[in-house]
Subunit: 335 residues, 2 copies
């Protein structure tokens, strides 16, 4: 059988030039139809749009970005996405970025400084127009890379004294203080803290200890349980500080895990309405905490709002560079 030459108009992914050829215009006109249809005459636009449809042309933003030096993308770095608290933040920032034509390039650090630096480099190599990350960079190298990138950088979930550029979050130290005082005013004596040992958790821990000392309580105990399930954290806490009468858990999953372990241990019995034998306060205000029995006291934080605000600061350098979204202690049945 006779083989004709390959027909590049059909086989390969069509280019702007192919569209131009088909529509009988110059490439730049096609570019205009795609990006600023209003400045092209109606007839020309029609011809070009027909060609685009016929060829199934999808603009190549890689080429466009190189030519224009604008990628319309934002790099997002989280410790892990499989934690609903950060998933909410990613959801929130996407909700602001996507309607404006920005894409989200997502990377996870796993709380690992080296991996974080690698992911930061990977993100920056794609020339995002801004970086949004949970927390401040873990290493000086990471911070330096971000500074050199000369793009907006928004740190979230904490409020560093000297952010690289911008920060959206709340005072983690304060959260610890508020919970410790709450426990003290409820007459609790032996406080404990269950959570990771990342910087934000440690800030809460410090606030927790300081406030406990200030009101004359003995020093709280700290149980480090990073990377565990709620059940694992609960069991660990129960084993390590069996005599605590009040526990601040790093997140609601840990709080629920602990409550569940307490129930299994028969230490949750109390007449309804009575003060529970052990007070438990979580963080995050998961819906599950409101459905659990006992309902879970918590430090409420609006992760989606953090994401939305971060996206806004990322896109507009004129916006304030420090946004404290605060938190709220919500006291429910668990203490």
């Amino acid at each position: 059988m006779e083989e004709g030459p390959p027909d590049p108009e059909r086989a390969a992914t069509p280019t702007l030039t192919a569209v131009a050829r088909m529509a009988g215009v110059s490439p730049i006109t096609v570019s205009r139809v795609v990006r600023r249809p209003d400045i092209v005459s109606a007839e020309t636009r029609q011809r070009v749009e027909d060609a685009i449809r016929k060829l199934g042309y999808v603009p190549n933003m890689v080429a466009g970005s190189l030519a224009s030096a604008r990628t319309k993308s934002v790099g997002v770095l989280v410790p892990t996405i499989a934690n609903s608290i950060f998933a909410d933040t990613v959801q929130g920032l996407s909700d602001v970025l996507e309607p404006q034509g920005y894409s989200v390039i997502l990377a996870q650090s796993g709380y690992d400084p080296l991996r974080e630096d690698r992911m930061l480099a990977a993100l920056l190599s794609r020339r995002p127009e801004a970086i949004i990350m949970v927390g401040a960079p873990l290493t000086a190298d990471g911070a330096e890379m971000l500074r050199r990138a000369r793009i907006p950088v928004v740190e979230t979930w904490e409020l560093p004294a000297a952010p690289i550029d911008a920060a959206v979050g709340f005072d983690n130290h304060d959260a610890g203080v508020v919970v410790a005082r709450h426990f003290a005013s409820a007459g609790r004596q032996r406080l404990a803290f269950v959570g990771g040992d990342d910087r934000r958790a440690t800030q809460r821990w410090h606030g927790f200890v300081e406030a406990a000392r200030q009101v004359g309580l003995e020093d709280p105990r700290r149980v480090v349980v990073e990377w565990q399930s709620g059940a694992g954290a609960g069991t660990a806490a129960l084993a390590e500080v069996p005599d605590a009468d009040a526990v601040f858990a790093a997140n609601d999953a840990y709080a629920i895990g602990l409550l569940s372990a307490l129930r299994r241990a028969g230490r949750l019995q109390a007449e309804p309405g009575a003060t529970p034998a052990i007070g438990v306060v979580g963080l995050g205000d998961l819906e599950m905490g409101r459905l659990f029995s006992p309902t879970v006291s918590t430090i409420r934080i609006d992760g989606a709002a953090i994401g939305r605000a971060a996206a806004e600061l990322a896109l507009d350098p004129a916006k304030p560079r420090r946004v404290d979204l605060g938190f709220e202690l919500i006291v429910r049945e668990s203490g």
Copy 2:
């Protein structure tokens, strides 16, 4: 004050060429040091690496991608990331992609067909090397765009009869069948189904109805509650089908919401170990379901495994194009 000419070597983001100049080599040598250090002599490599460090050079992958026609990126489309079930899948696929140098470009459809098409176009314009999405495309246009892109496309969380390219998931229809039969064999009479009306939920619903009919039960009732909280779904279900004695909930959050509503309504009382007055089965096997009281029966699905498998099919077209990861009915206290 005398103004010198701007020093491009310091101010602007350094380019490969700037590094080459500083190291006294040609640009291509720098490129080699970055990508294949082994093929460059040790001394040259050293000089180049010094220059890279001194300038803080970060390769421009936008330019690299255009030149090499490889973006080292994968487009990921989910209905929403703020649903732990999909967050697990994204986590799983990232865990496979990131170590291989791929970036994840994340987009959300919100279950909206038009938005899905827009996000698909946005993803494709960045020339990802593959697309991984939850479910099959909602529109024919979307499917056509994907086909034309001539890249691996992995649909997840369902197993379409004719996938565009590949699929990783389980049989949603079967899941409905299994739950209905389970209810029937437990002597349940009046079945109900609570969930969204997306395609996957509808497949489960169909299996549920068909199996119920087959065993001679009256037709189950369906409560559509897309986009609601677990509490909202639970309340809605209770209001709409107050006489149901067995409910299949689209996810564990809905199941827990329903259980919680039942408890408030005083309909959960039963001696421990007894068959609950209303049987409830969820889907997803959230940890919370194991901690809740009663513990929640569920269709267990490994979202992270789906993500990992999807990533593998996305990167290797030689792999099987259809992977059924199955599911497992886990019967706990809730029924």
